[in-house]
């Protein structure tokens, strides 16, 4: 009883006083739970991630090896993250805000290069080729990956031009090739029927959900090795979200997908593997079913059931 009395008050003062990322609110029996790993992380330690057998030695498309990232000299965002992303599956990155899941995703196509003062240590390989080697051309690297962002960002041009943009920048001019690729990609993104009659009209006239599917079409038009999705549904309504999720399921038959999501149900619905991150550390990583039904850590269990985070 006493804990119940005091906890809401403590919670209020703590939440406003500390950074959002640090806040966790024990609720109910969670308050008495033993958060060993999380507590260690909050003390600044880097505990070894809890891995499930299935992800220890998969056929990895992306292999992240002891990856560290600093935004400025002292703002470290990723701590010794090491994980293998299995080929041909959907892998979800989950965790509370500021846990570094987006940073990790953007490290894979080196989007963080655009930010001044970012420094990394460790290596990431894409199909065994290192991506942080000095000889790597970052533009060539990005051409091997497709990326979809949090907010739909179609370019202010026609739907057709949006989809074939990656081909255009490769210098492709043949109309037949472009048209074929456009149709194939729009069909794969399940938006062909909606836009086939107005390919020449502006992409900005589409609804938010359609725009995001268009962005997915744009991301897959050049057959990327991996599709990176950075919270693709966070700006969409439930119906559009549902459509995107169905689309991810379909796409995953052909592409390896790495998705960052805030939405636990979404991770459970669309992904084959799930990685739980906290404060820049990988906490637990395994098959989605295992993570959601019988996680090894109490923290993970509480997080996925919404009792913490």
């Amino acid at each position: 009883m006493t804990t119940m009395d005091t906890s809401p008050k403590n919670n209020g003062s703590e939440a406003s006083g500390k950074a959002r990322a640090v806040a966790y609110e024990p609720k109910g029996e969670a308050a008495v739970a033993d958060y060993r790993v999380i507590d260690a992380i909050r003390r600044g330690e880097i505990p070894a991630p809890t891995l499930h057998g299935a992800v220890e030695a998969p056929d990895a498309v992306i292999d992240i090896q002891k990856f560290n990232l600093w935004y400025n000299q002292d703002a470290k965002a990723l701590h010794d993250v090491a994980m293998k992303v299995p080929r041909g599956a959907v892998t979800a990155l989950i965790g509370p805000s500021g846990c570094g899941k987006s940073t990790l995703l953007r490290s894979i196509n080196r989007m963080n290069d655009l930010i001044d003062g970012v420094r990394v240590e460790g290596e990431i390989t894409l199909n065994r080729s290192p991506i942080y080697a000095p000889s790597v051309d970052v533009i060539e690297l990005r051409k091997r990956l497709g990326m979809v962002f949090q907010k739909p960002n179609p370019f202010p041009m026609s739907i057709f031009e949006n989809v074939v943009y990656p081909l255009r920048i490769d210098g492709e001019r043949r109309k037949s090739v472009l048209e074929e690729a456009c149709e194939k990609s729009l069909r794969a993104a399940a938006i062909w029927d909606e836009v086939k009659d107005r390919l020449k009209s502006s992409a900005l006239g589409l609804s938010g959900g359609q725009q995001q599917r268009l962005c997915i079409a744009r991301a897959i038009v050049a057959d990327p090795e991996v599709l990176l999705l950075d919270e693709p549904c966070s700006a969409l309504d439930p119906v559009a979200t549902l459509k995107i999720e169905e689309l991810i399921n379909e796409i995953s038959e052909r592409y390896t997908v790495l998705i960052v999501t805030h939405n636990m149900q979404q991770a459970a619905r669309v992904s084959d593997y799930t990685a739980f991150m906290y404060l820049g550390r990988l906490v637990e990583y395994g098959p989605t079913a295992a993570i959601f039904q019988k996680p090894k850590l109490i923290e993970t269990e509480h997080y996925v059931s919404g009792r913490f985070g």
Binding site: P8, D116, G117, A203
Partner: protein, 732 residues
């Protein structure tokens, strides 16, 4: 129970201090000053004042500008002194303590020694009528003539036989229109033949002469052996070439194996050797001691013969056309009118010096008989005067005739300056916003650019005259001056050095990039600074190479040798460049803002698709910023079109018979001086010999100027709206 105790803290903690304060502090009623009502009135009043000023300005220009061409009645005045005058009332002054009430009359007839405007005291006027047959003749020269028509005559030969075509004012008016139309049509034809046909022949002759002159100059120069290296210099270059070949051979494998630590050095050495080898190779070829001139004396003789032949042909055609012109002219000059002014009964003469010869019919531009005109006729005259104003050249020191060349000059200048300033400003802004690292230096550059906008415009004029006209222009005309021209071997040596510098600049710039995911090391930073220095030095070198090249002798050497500068004087090109410089800050600032307003998510999306920075900029950023860039261009255009002060220094002239654009190749003559509406207004108002006559034209020209600037802006705004709607698309 515990829950109920927990409930009160629910509201956010923020309101608490307010509640506490209310316990000690009693809230007062809101004072009138707190409502800010006076402020509303003040700001509103200020706005109204501005609006009234603007409306006043526009209405004044419009009212004064539009009524200039309205035909007003001619009064016949009989004065107490016995004089009889015909004139148009233009201004009236009421009596003051020292002066009587008086009226300003336009009485014209300057060629018989009359002032064209005259103040007449109202008390001196004994009678004032508006006779039906009074006319005002607008003439090619000597201003207007007021008089009463008497007859039209046809003169045969040298004033021997005179045939009366129409006698008396009634007959005169009946036959005038038809005869006058014919005479004017002939006049137009003569003008066209003189200007067009004869002008073309003249231009062709001039061109042929210049070609010969150019050839002569080139032969003379080649004799001076300016282009050949001295044997020692040539030998030195040969040695340099051998060294390059040797280094290419020796280092051909340096750093080519995978992962070699000297890969960069190897590449650099090979690149330097190759480029230096190429440069020296060309130098050896061009400057060889046995190199020969391409033009010989024999060629010159041949050319001279051809020229003489061609000149004879052209002269013959010239004479033929001139004979035709003379014939039409003499035919036309036979038809004369006798329009008599009432005071001394003198008819309008051909000119002041030929006072006993009657005015030629073809000298009359327009005859107005306002006292019998109905409204429709007046409107007809009004618009015909407007058309004349817009479509003809000025006459009588700009106080009569049209402003056609002025409009052309203004529009060309504005378009040229916009075409120059927009790409320049956009490129500068692009670098400043997208490429340059944001820091103290970029901030300082921004401040400097903004300050540039505040520099008095005449300063730009001085700069334009000194730099563009007299430095760059002279260079374009005759190449580098004797002081800046380098010797051949020096120049080639410098070229080789510059090439090496450029390579060094590129190499250090590339090496100064940190490894992926690493912060720039001290080495990187040093290299970067070094590359900046190298770039600065190589830019200076390239400028020196261009400014001192011995291989460029100007594009207009032959003309300049006759003492006529082409681009080395005030002209349209330099004026537009000067104004481009003046309006550059406007474009830079607008473009920068537009570029910054393109959402970062667009850039990220593009990078995510594998686009390079340049591709992102070209395909996403620039199109997205286009409406903003166009806004900048519009602002620059408006600013540039209205500038007069710098133009007085760099090219605007009072009168220019040769338009800067015409049917002769190269069609746009950017070297010519031009007329400009802004300068024209100043000229009309303050430099005119007959300021009373010019005054209404000042208003009309101002109105025209306003309309042109407005039209140009409207054009650009429509363009921007089009671009915008194309970009955004209909939000379906």
């Amino acid at each position: 129970m515990t829950l109920t105790t927990l409930e009160p803290p629910k509201p956010a903690p923020a309101p608490e201090p307010a509640q506490q304060a209310s316990a000690t502090h009693k809230r007062r009623r809101t004072l009138p000053s707190a409502l800010g009502e006076p402020m509303v009135w003040l700001t509103g009043g200020a706005l109204i004042t501005c609006l009234v000023m603007i409306i006043l300005l526009f209405s004044m220009v419009i009212i004064n500008g539009t009524r200039t061409f309205w035909p007003r009645p001619i009064d016949r005045l009989e004065l107490a002194s016995g004089e009889t005058l015909l004139g148009i009332e233009t201004q009236h002054e009421s009596a003051t303590e020292t002066t009587e009430a008086r009226t300003l009359y336009r009485i014209g007839n300057r060629d018989i020694g009359q002032a064209s405007f005259r103040w007449i005291n109202d008390s001196d006027i004994s009678s004032k009528t508006q006779p039906d047959d009074a006319v005002m003749l607008e003439r090619e020269a000597w201003g207007v003539w007021f008089g009463v028509p008497q007859q039209i005559i046809r003169v045969d030969g040298e004033d021997d036989g005179v045939e009366v075509v129409a006698q008396g004012s009634e007959a005169y008016f009946e036959s005038f229109d038809e005869l006058h139309a014919q005479a004017r049509a002939d006049k137009v034809q003569i003008d066209r033949m003189k200007k067009h046909d004869l002008g073309r022949i003249n231009a062709e002759m001039e061109r042929a002469r210049l070609q010969l002159r150019q050839a002569e100059i080139e032969v003379a120069r080649d004799d001076s052996e300016l282009f050949r290296f001295s044997p020692v210099g040539w030998g030195a270059f040969a040695v340099l070439a051998v060294v390059c070949v040797a280094s290419l051979v020796k280092f051909r494998h340096l750093g080519t194996e995978m992962g070699s630590p000297v890969a960069r050095q190897g590449k650099l050495i090979r690149a330097v050797s190759l480029i230096v080898l190429l440069a020296t190779g060309v130098a050896l070829w061009v400057g060889a001691p046995w190199a020969e001139s391409s033009i010989t004396e024999a060629d010159i003789t041949q050319m001279r013969e051809r020229l003489v032949q061609r000149e004879a042909e052209l002269q013959q055609r010239y004479d033929e056309i001139l004979a035709q012109v003379r014939e039409i002219e003499s035919e036309d000059s036979r038809l004369r009118v006798s329009v008599v002014e009432p005071n001394t009964d003198r008819f309008a003469p051909t000119s002041q010096t030929l006072a006993d010869q009657r005015l030629h019919m073809s000298q009359i531009v327009r005859q107005v008989r306002p006292n019998t005109m109905g409204l429709t006729e007046k409107i007809g005259v009004y618009f015909s005067r407007w058309w004349e104003f817009l479509s003809t050249f000025p006459r009588e020191a700009n106080t009569e005739g049209g402003v056609y060349p002025v409009i052309i000059g203004t529009v060309l200048l504005t378009l040229l300056l916009t075409m120059v300033v927009t790409p320049m400003g956009v490129i500068a802004a692009l670098y400043l916003r997208e490429y340059a690292k944001q820091g103290i230096i970029t901030s300082m550059i921004r401040i400097a650019v903004n300050n540039l906008a505040g520099v008095p415009s005449i300063v730009y004029g001085v700069f334009g005259l000194g730099f563009f006209c007299y430095t760059v222009g002279a260079y374009v005309d005759v190449g580098p001056s004797e002081t800046t021209r380098m010797g051949v071997s020096t120049w080639w040596l410098m070229l080789v050095v510059s090439a090496m510098l450029v390579i060094a600049g590129v190499a250090t710039r590339l090496w100064s990039k940190p490894d992926p995911g690493k912060l720039p090391s001290t080495m990187n930073v040093m290299l970067q600074r070094f590359s900046w220095v190298v770039w600065a030095v190589s830019v200076v070198c390239v400028v020196m190479l261009i400014a001192g090249t011995p291989y460029f002798n100007g594009l207009f050497e032959a003309r300049s040798s006759n003492g006529t500068p082409t681009f080395g004087a005030r002209g349209l090109l330099w004026a537009s460049l000067t104004l481009a410089l003046l309006t550059l800050p406007v474009v830079i600032v607008a473009t920068e803002e537009a570029i910054a307003a393109v959402p970062n998510s667009m850039r990220e999306g593009s990078y995510g698709c594998g686009a390079s920075k340049w591709q992102t900029m070209r395909r996403i950023v620039l199109p997205g910023a286009l409406p903003g860039i166009l806004t900048g261009a519009i602002l620059a255009m408006a600013r540039g079109a209205g500038e007069v002060a710098p133009l007085m220094l760099v090219g605007a002239v009072k009168l220019n018979q040769d338009l800067p654009i015409d049917g002769e190749a190269p069609y746009l003559h950017a070297d010519r001086s031009f007329m400009h509406l802004g300068f024209h207004i100043y000229d009309l108002g303050f430099q005119s010999p007959d300021s009373q006559a010019a005054r209404p034209l000042v208003w009309t020209t101002t109105l025209l100027f306003l309309s042109i600037v407005f039209a140009l802006n409207l054009l650009a705004i429509v363009l921007r709206a089009k671009v915008r709607s194309r970009m955004a698309g209909p939000t379906v």
